[in-house]
Symmetry: C2
Subunit: 252 residues, 2 copies
Amino acid sequence: MDTKYTFAKKIVVEAGEFLRQHLYDSLDIQVKSHFTDLVTHLDQQVEEDLSCKILTRYPEDKILGEEGHSQPSVSEGNVWIIDPIDGTTNFIVQQEDFAVLLAYFENGVGKFAIIYDVMKDEMIHGGSHYPVYLNDQPLVAFQDKELKESLIGLNTGLYAQNVDGLANLANHTLGTRSFGSAGIGFARVLKGQLLAQASYLYPWDYGAAAILGESLGYHLITTDGGQPRFQGREMVILLPKAKEKEIITLLE
Amino acid sequence: MDTKYTFAKKIVVEAGEFLRQHLYDSLDIQVKSHFTDLVTHLDQQVEEDLSCKILTRYPEDKILGEEGHSQPSVSEGNVWIIDPIDGTTNFIVQQEDFAVLLAYFENGVGKFAIIYDVMKDEMIHGGSHYPVYLNDQPLVAFQDKELKESLIGLNTGLYAQNVDGLANLANHTLGTRSFGSAGIGFARVLKGQLLAQASYLYPWDYGAAAILGESLGYHLITTDGGQPRFQGREMVILLPKAKEKEIITLLE
């Protein structure tokens, strides 16, 4: 496992270096379902590069990713969940606030994960038997604080429509922040800057946060208090276990 | 003027160094009108330090600031507008995404200004006869792009209530970002990352953006298309002059 973990960190760093080198490329932007769901050829290329490196070295393993053609179940075998650019719109428009995300599961059990904020060069890595670090600094587990002294990550649309009661929750805090990348929001939760981050996400968006959060006193759940299915898109929230009951009560 | 400009940059850097040294102080937080309007003793101390340095060196000049007792008119004499910590909530809760803001006017004419993102150590400085720089890199003027290819800075509350039609505007773009500090949002506009930043602000929040923006093809106006009064609190927006007509039309 140590070798695999080291390998994972290496290929994510390489992906980040590649993205930094191609920040200002004239982008062949494809509009999928909506302008807010931009995919660039760099997304596709980085996902292919990561997949190729993983499968060359671990041919029995499976890949779950945004661009992948197969959608393997996380509960069976060795599954790598990858998001080559979380925050594609930010990558294109801001050249900042995007992340490479990786989560590794064996038979449904999270073994390690990585959230790499490329432009800050900040990698949060660890999970399960590996302590969680921000680069080479250990991260501390959730330090108790009141909702009214805390901020949460939430985009304007979810707040405006009070989806799943998330505006009710936000109104019990100091307010919301919206970075346009769930991975960047999750990283701020893990660093203790935000109390929680809620978004409507696919498994490749939330897999890493689920594993890393577990090691630091957080829980990645659906907004109705259930376990994410790791299939399709769901409203999920990364929150402190110590606040789970209080927060779920507000989400109604 | 060169001496004054150099002096201004020096005292802002000193303020930033002080804030970085006191990031984790146990804060004597005063709640003014609301939890979202937090003021720390560090705000007060930094404003006093800046004011003291300015008035010691330029005793004829006047200071307009959040903590100041007098509220001099910007249109007469030499007026320094200062905000010691723009984004106090971020300073307290996130230890990131806050800025020191300074704007200098002579008889109502902006002469230079500074937005200093303390934790990124990024200083945007210049205005009027001084080219605008990000640290030692010149910033380019607004590069034309479509609203539908752009992001705007707007907080969730303003979006949710469609204040002054700002949600209408946002819905013509790729979406919103909310950093919890107008200064940080304005910096992203000046760096070309956001198309516009709208907030409900006091002069010390928007004075620097007004001066710096003017040099880069932007305009700081009220959301009804007027000039800010530099008195009290107003809904203002920093936007590209080339898009002013299109944006104002949407703000209805």
